[in-house]
Point group: C2
Chain length 285, copies 2
């Protein structure tokens, strides 16, 4: 388990889903996101491992175990990762090897990156996600999923050079930068600033109680009560980020955005929305 | 003065500038926006009328008179408009007829629309702006400038059907919808929702201490310490606003945004940014 492992699928193995959740997902009355995750992982056959590492609350792991069992998951455990040594512990790595789904809770994403980053367990999560294991993360757990993680920043819709701090994440995708609590904490500016640094990425701004279920084929589908703001800087004509001082507004021209609600889909490869009503309208046109 | 007047420039008369300000513009140390307004209105030859109608504070009018005089304006008065009768008062209309510039303060934009809307004084402001008189408004005074005014709404970057309430404004332009305190009060969602109703408009999200100086030729130039977010829905492919329930997220695909900082310009007719560094780069390409 400690050997180097490829992070790309090889042979017939399919990737698992990648599921960023914007935080504060509904857990009791109508937990559509968590239910969909359990079903995707196999329902009664699901074997889910929860990492409550980001959280400082004692009961976060146990709480998610209860929720996932209530939603029909066959087997659920949480693993406390409090030190980097915990991420080399063979029992932990063995337990993880049985998983059909991995769930990373919210809290402080820097706890996740400093404890898991560069450890055998971090490598194993990448390997498993490349081999059919679904990985969901909520709030800080969503931020950590891509190669480049938003570690912190300022709120507000206008990007400023100092509005965002990036650091390495779990690298389950290198196409996305993810921000969470998007509507609730007013984070368009910091997401735009992150994209200004390198317009290669697609930005996902995920509202609370909202998730993007990203299929092995790279199609994202929105679930939950909020929206996902897709920020596509691929036609960006000009950005002043290289010249801007820390608190300057960053000029950015020609950024494309899409606001997607539950059921809407987006193809991350073609960078095109696949909105059901829009597709039907085009069909009938 | 009470006869019907055309609101379009006729013959050789040029339009005046239209100047939405995002609120909280710097008044003491480095009042670049207010200074530029005074200079535009003629400096020592300037004749400025201030309408503190939106404000509930007793001293708002007198305060702006002091500021504009300190910044070199030749003649400045404020006119209290507290009733619709005040907007038919001949002395008020006569005083306004001498103005080279009109300044509308912040406060509650519904006070402005309910007191000035549909009165001879409202008509006169439109006539004067069509005939070389510059009109600036800050905060509520900026919101009231276009034909369709954002009367209220919810904060957050994700548009919802109920996120915005529109009502008629002063109609100095029918091309724009203006939102103010943009960065500070997180208003992208309500601006997007306003545009979803009718993607004909260009949305301006104006940060505090930031202004758009819109020339008679329809070119906006940014001044001040913040940014202006231009939201251009002209390539909008799909919006769900017609079907959305009040609190649903509104799906909107393919919205173009530009973030502009001081000195950046935007041509409202061609809908193209005219960013100095970008133009120079294209020149040298």
């Amino acid at each position: 388990m400690l050997e180097m492992r490829p992070t790309r699928s090889t042979g017939s193995a399919k990737r698992g889903y990648l599921i960023p959740i914007g935080g504060a997902e509904e857990k009791e009355t109508n937990p559509v996101i968590l239910q969909h995750f359990v079903d995707l992982c196999g329902g009664a056959e699901a074997n889910i491992v929860v990492f409550p590492t980001a959280s400082r609350l004692e009961d976060t792991g146990a709480r998610y175990v209860d929720i996932f069992k209530r939603l029909g998951a066959g087997k659920v455990d949480f693993i406390d990762l409090n030190t980097r040594a915990d991420c080399e512990n063979l029992d932990n790595l063995k337990r993880l090897d049985e998983a059909t789904g991995i769930f990373i809770t919210g809290g402080n994403q820097l706890r996740l990156s400093t404890i898991i980053g560069g450890t055998p367990l971090g490598d194993q999560i990448r390997y498993l996600n490349a081999h059919e294991v679904h990985v969901a993360g909520t709030s800080a757990g969503a931020a950590i999923l891509p190669e480049h993680m938003i570690a912190g920043g300022q709120s507000g819709p206008t990007p400023r050079q100092a509005a965002v701090t990036l650091s390495p994440g779990l690298a389950l995708t290198n196409r996305l930068v993810i921000d969470q609590h998007f509507r609730e904490r007013d984070r368009l500016g910091r997401l735009l600033a992150a994209l200004a640094y390198n317009p290669y990425f697609i930005g996902l701004g995920v509202d609370e109680d909202t998730a993007g279920f990203i299929s092995p084929e790279g199609v994202l589908e929105v679930a939950g009560s909020g929206g996902i703001t897709i920020v596509d800087p691929s036609d960006l004509e000009y950005s002043s980020i290289a010249e801007a001082r820390r608190d300057d507004v960053v000029t950015m021209t020609n950024v494309r955005i899409h606001i997607l609600a539950a059921g809407d889909r987006f193809d991350l490869t073609s960078r095109r929305p696949l909105v059901q009503a829009q597709l039907e309208a085009e069909e009938n046109a």
